[in-house]
């Protein structure tokens, strides 16, 4: 019964963060629009992961989506007890049988933003602000970013600063300021509610920034180059569809340019365009080219932990 018609989602934060949780919630809304019964819990603390999953499982929800890698542990705990229920972990990193991790190909999007940053920087210094150093998806994003920058400007300096909380916009703003003070003229990153602070910093200091949702363009239309607009709605719809079709089972599935049905995310400036008009056409074209290479498998980005290291 992969398809009970009832989908539940657990979110680690608030659905109005314009970022990670909002994207997940959008996915749930899309499933609802397709006629499914949905339920969700926000701000689910580590202490309550297992209990919440079991509760939904008992009440017949399937799949149960944990919208963060932090739900994987609980899913692996609960999964064997509820063999007929599917557990989808967004941004997870593994699984077996009815526990399935899906993620967007962070390394691809990080890499493309890196290329963009490398092309746009005048000072030869770019920076990024992120959280949770060392997690696979952070390694993918930040490592991909550094590799992307270096691929077009090997001599460029890439600084990454990690924060304790991904939900603290004021702290993110200060982190961005510290990068800008060190000479960075493009700031990227991967934060949740905190990301707005990063954009705000770029706006005030007049440097380029990349966002994580179209909402970020709205904060500083003139400073945002593009956003890694994560399409968790498409991902979840695709994943639920794939589940029904039996196309995915336990393990890790990444959505990116190599999965044309649901690419997981895209670089978007607004509904109409991919990039800020300030981005030279040549650069945009270059990036489009890279996307194609990724789609064909010709370009595979494989960041290491060291690529995602903090500091320069």
């Amino acid at each position: 019964s992969a398809q009970s018609g009832k989908v539940a989602m657990l979110l680690p934060g608030s659905i109005n963060d314009q970022s990670w949780n909002a994207a997940g919630y959008a996915g749930l809304q899309k499933l609802k629009a397709q006629g499914m019964e949905v339920a969700y819990s926000e701000n689910v603390q580590a202490a309550d992961h297992i209990e919440a999953m079991k509760d939904y499982a008992r009440r017949g929800f399937s799949p149960i989506i944990g919208h963060s890698g932090r739900f994987l542990s609980a899913a692996q705990r609960v999964g064997p007890e509820f063999e007929k229920t599917f557990f989808l972990v967004g941004s997870g990193s593994g699984g077996a049988k009815n526990v399935i991790s899906i993620d967007i190909a962070n390394e691809q999007f990080g890499y493309l933003v890196g290329v963009l940053a490398g092309r746009m920087t005048k000072t030869g210094k770019v920076g990024a602000v992120a959280g949770l150093e060392g997690l696979p998806n952070m390694i993918a994003s930040m490592g991909g970013f550094r590799l992307g920058v270096k691929s077009v400007k090997p001599e460029a300096e890439v600084r990454v600063v990690y924060l304790q909380s991904m939900e603290d916009p004021a702290a993110a703003k200060e982190a961005a300021f510290s990068l800008i003070a060190a000479g960075a003229d493009v700031v990227a990153g991967k934060l949740n509610a905190g990301h707005a602070g990063l954009i705000q910093a770029a706006k005030e200091k007049g440097v380029w920034a990349t966002g994580r949702s179209l909402g970020h363009t709205a904060i500083a239309p003139e400073r945002v180059l593009t956003n890694i607009n994560e399409k968790w709605d498409e991902v979840y719809v695709a994943a639920v569809g794939d589940l029904k079709g039996g196309k995915i089972t336990g393990g890790y599935h990444a959505y990116g340019y190599h999965t044309p049905a649901a690419r997981g995310a895209d670089l978007q400036y607004n509904e109409q365009r991919g990039f800020n008009t300030a981005v030279p056409a040549a650069v945009a074209t270059e990036i489009e080219g890279l996307k194609k290479k990724m789609a064909s498998g010709e370009l595979k980005v494989k960041p290491t932990k060291d690529d995602a290291r903090g500091g320069a």
Binding site: V161, D168, G197, G310
Partner: protein
Amino acid sequence: MIEDILAASVRIGTPLLFAALGGLLSERAGVFAVGLEGMMLAGAFAGVIATWLTSSLGLGLVASAAGGMALALVVVIATQRYGADQMVTGLAVNILALGLTSFLLRGFGARGEAPVLRVPTLAPWPIPWLADLPVLGAVLFRQPPLTYAGIVLALGVAVWLARTRAGLTLRAAGENPYAVFAGGTDPVRVRALAIVACGAIAGLGGAVLSLQQVGTFTDGMTNGRGYIALAAIIVGRWRPMAALAACVVFGAADALQLRVQGFRLPVSSYVIQMTPYLVALAVLAGVGRSARLPAAIGVPLLRERK
């Protein structure tokens, strides 16, 4: 470099400063200010809502103060009217504020979903001539209005506490409320007013975050700053200017932490993030003098009720 770090210290320290000044008033009057976190959050929230509704940052600031005061009133009623324990009441209103702001925010969106309310931020007001001073100009005189307000407020609170009869009464309420009563003033009223003032000022501290630094409200955006402000009060030994210094030092530790991360160090970001706290501990341990709490802090006033 030094200029950049100092300016960052002042920025990071500003919201802490407001909260610390408010908390200092409350604690000098004899009431633990554990609720600072919630008061800041309420202020941050009310400021954004009011600014969004009225398009006026001025009204937003007023609302911030009012938001903090509203939560402070809960503390007043629970602790002063009913004699509830100050520390738990503080913790309780922090939880309450976290939930209530998030809940009310949803009231502004369709279908109970939280909207994104974006408001303009308070722009820096460079002070003519002074702003062009080397180093000092960037650090002190090219700041947004609430930063100036914070510094002026610290001075004001210091002078008010030391030089006015009202300030004297407030301090006495924290040392020996019965002496205040015997002197002809109702210490419960003094404490109540101090808590309300604390709420207003801490609320403005929230506005520093939401209206001056970020331009929006997100759930729990104070992120523990109220507790750091409590630490700043103790480090500053309940004196306004010393608390200001403590806030700047905390700011500096954080600013340094971010900049140190920018270099390539052989340790992880988690270790570097510990440094502000370790530095604070090391400095305090180095100074090695114990702090004396206001003598009657936390002591409920047990008076006959008729």
